[in-house]
Amino acid sequence: MMGEDAENFSQEDIDRSISYLLPSGLFEKKARPMLRPPKDYYPPQKAAQFDNDGRPFSFLFYTGKPNYYNLMHEAADWLNKVIQQEDALIQRGESLDGIPQVNLARSEWIGKLALEKIVIEKLKDNEYERFINLLERILKQPFAIEAQEFIMKFRQKIEAVLSKEVIEPLQKDENGRFYSRGSARRKSSNASVILTDGGSGKITINGEEFLRTFYQLCHREDILFPLHFANMLDRFDIECTTEGGGPSGQSGAIRLAISKALRSFVDEEFVEKMRQAGLLTKDPRIKERKKPGQKRARKKFTWKKR
């Protein structure tokens, strides 16, 4: 904290300083010490609801959920407005063609919890459903574009993980053959793979033969799955290096590494297909820790009465 610019001391600087001054090895990140404005972590509270005479501000106070019903009223207003515009158009005798539509691609409705945060009230499942149904009814109208700003408040973007990842372009080796690299981990194994185009389909693992390293069928199936999926079983020469863990961890790591390297050889559409087939997703399962007072992760000591 010493020697920092006091004028421009941002939240990021505070976080950095706290983690330096009060280092914590706790696994759960929420349990570590922090210094933030209370707004960030205390739940939002309702503003005052009564005036000096003791009467509620909102005419919907006695419904029990004034903010929610206010929102419903607002949505219903939007629906009426949109329908009125359509009626006016029809009365004028103009056609409905050419009205732009609301772009809903890459977004979805917010969840119940998020809506509860907006209205600061507890909601039932059917109340949430009623609200979403109302918004969907607005969307069905031809003039829904008018209410776009209101509707988009209740939609969230779907973050595409894939679009962030950069696929490396193909490289050329000294013989003029295209190749690409990939590396991945599974359990406690890690693997790196070089796919060389125009080969005979030979697979070597740490310089040794494929069959000798993986003598169990399931492991060989695992490794060949991405190539089988892409119908490219005899196209590449595959050179794998892997270390750590056992055969199933190693074969899983090699499988993911091959799929990653394969992305450079196929088009974007096929990459999406590979993702849907689960080829590009890391297997997050790891070994469960041993607990004190127990024999293994789950197994208990033999129970003896005395």
């Binding site: 069959l211 060949l224 079983l233 005899d234």
Partner: protein, 302 residues
Amino acid sequence: MMVRRPALEVIDYIRQTNFDQLAIKYVIYGRKGSGKTMTLNHIIHHCQAAGWLIVHIPTANGLNLKNKYDFIDSVSHEGMYDQPTSSTDWLKQFKLRNERFLKELKTTEKYVWNKRESTEKDQPLLSVLEQGLTRPKNATDVIGVLLKELQLQSYNKQFKMLYAIKAVNGLFAEETAFRKHGGYIIPVRELTLHMHFRNFLEGDWINGSIVTTVDYNLSYRQPKFYYTPFYLLGKKGFDHMDPFIPVFVDEYSDKEFESQIAYYQSKHWIQDEEANTEAGKLYLKKLSDMNPAELDKLVSWI
């Protein structure tokens, strides 16, 4: 049926051999499941069809491990051990194969088994063998006598002989599974049965051939995937076998793979519809890595 190149090669050598010379040794080697034993079997079949006498050890490595309580103090060799059960088993299959020869060939000297029993000179060798079957205690010695007689009488050129051993490195191994009461593990060098087979392997006989394989299956040697004769036989075994002709059995070539798949299809062994297509064939090729045994395992359930 497909007889592969290594078997044809050895059969070709055997056909062109000058049988006036000492027996030539062949050592077949290769990776696990590459078809060493099938190669040996094809050669044995060829010789059997040609009317040869067959001396066959089905697995020499197995002799060190199977029947592990089957040992008694040797009758004829002090400080060594006989194996009655293994020996009688071997004698039975030897009799089944070569009864024709055993009736014709005669003993060259008198053999005394114990105080009361003996085999006179000029008796058929079959009577010697029957002694081993009726008195299992003498079975191992009977094998020694039979092999000695065959070695001596090979110079008369009455018969041609094939000595075929699978996993010959078992005869030159060190460890066995035989454990005496008190914890003493009997080494291979103290087993008379192995000694007789080893002596016969020296090749002091003519009018025949010696065909062997080396195999790391059932062997105590680590790592288990080295398959060269020198590694598996060891220095001692290599010197004992020297000189020999090494024959390498490789995995399937593309052509062999195709014909093997065609064989499986003709026998309706591959039932899966996808496996019968070109893409399926390619997948089988990659999964089995062109290894005959691995392919056989794969197609057994598809």
